[in-house]
Symmetry: C2
């Protein structure tokens, strides 16, 4: 994965702009569980994910979390460079969910090219619109979907990402993704188990009836 693979409009940049981005880009490696970015004051730059998986989330004053979106191979993480735009007025934290490898483009470098280049600015617009769409989807989930459906969604998504129906995940991790109290997660998982849809053991959730979970969605 080279830099140009992340930017479909790469050929519309001048040679000078291409060089600036390429020369300033740096490789970064993150261990699973490592914090990649933490809030508004931390303006590292843009991460371009080469491999692995990142999770963007928000944290309440009381320390409760909710996952906003995830980033995979080929995704660009814009909000770790929130200082490139004045109007970004919210704190997002980002952690590595798997061992991850990324390019880092420093915020200042990206900003200076974006200010000159209409193609890059327009592409940045597309990236932001795409995250915006994910956040609007999340609002609809929170407002209008009952918790059993959200939990079934989440378990099926995890199984697809991990390529296994035997998930290694704690109740706490699930509650941090969905922004729901741990007891609520535990109660619903117990209900799913009593209905034969999952089998629970310490730190594990095995999906035993995928078809029924899909019907809940």
């Amino acid at each position: 994965m080279q830099l140009k693979d992340y930017f479909p409009m790469w050929d519309k940049l001048t040679a000078e702009q291409q060089n600036k981005l390429s020369e300033d880009a740096d490789r970064r490696v993150f261990k699973k569980g490592q914090i990649v970015h933490n809030g508004l004051t931390d303006c590292t730059g843009l991460f371009l994910v080469k491999s692995g998986q990142l999770r963007a989330y928000i944290v309440s004053d009381e320390g409760r979390e909710v996952t906003i979106y995830r980033l995979f191979e080929r995704d660009i993480c814009l909000f770790s460079a929130s200082c490139i735009m004045r109007s970004i007025q919210f704190d997002i934290a980002i952690e590595a969910e798997k061992d991850s490898d990324a390019w880092l483009i420093p915020a200042e470098t990206y900003k200076s090219v974006m200010e000159q280049s209409a193609p890059l600015a327009n592409y940045t617009n597309e990236i932001m619109a795409s995250r915006f769409s994910e956040v609007m989807w999340l609002i609809e989930q929170i407002m209008w979907k009952s918790f059993d459906r959200r939990l079934a969604d989440f378990l099926l998504e995890e199984a697809a990402l991990e390529e296994t129906e035997k998930l290694k995940i704690t109740h706490e991790a699930i509650s941090n993704h969905l922004g729901t109290a741990r007891e609520v997660v535990a109660r619903m998982l117990n209900y799913f188990q009593s209905e034969g849809m999952v089998k629970l053991s310490r730190g594990r959730v095995e999906l035993t009836d995928v078809e029924r979970l899909k019907k809940l969605q």
Copy 2:
């Protein structure tokens, strides 16, 4: 209010770009309650609010609503031109909350100038980031704020916007703003009344103890 008053980077557009935007811009007038824009398929263009008040909201399959943000004088309504970006994949509806007056720039006109002009593309980024910040704020409210605080917030905001503590507003309108069932709104308003914070009558909510409502926030 002229077109250039909406765009702080107007002077960085070429004369040709300025003319294209100005010549294609059109005046639109909306009556209170009128639908300005409805969902993804309807790609009218950008509205630049001259006067009045617009409300952007989403609607569930069952017809439940929740207000996403509001637009006032000098604001630019971007998502009524969602076709200018491929990555906008969500439906927003917009209605006039007061008699309103706006400039309309057709989507195609705006898109063609934005594709050429880095300053306009970057400014569009700022507009989107600013709406993004409002939506993130809303998620925090929904996830972490109890309903009594959200309702107190809403009543105080309405009083500030309407410049009166005697609000003409139905329970249904409040429930459409906050995305909460009408019975929940009615129950909390009755509780506020029993505590002397509001006085209720048909289609009206009078704030009788602003200080206590503020303490709830």
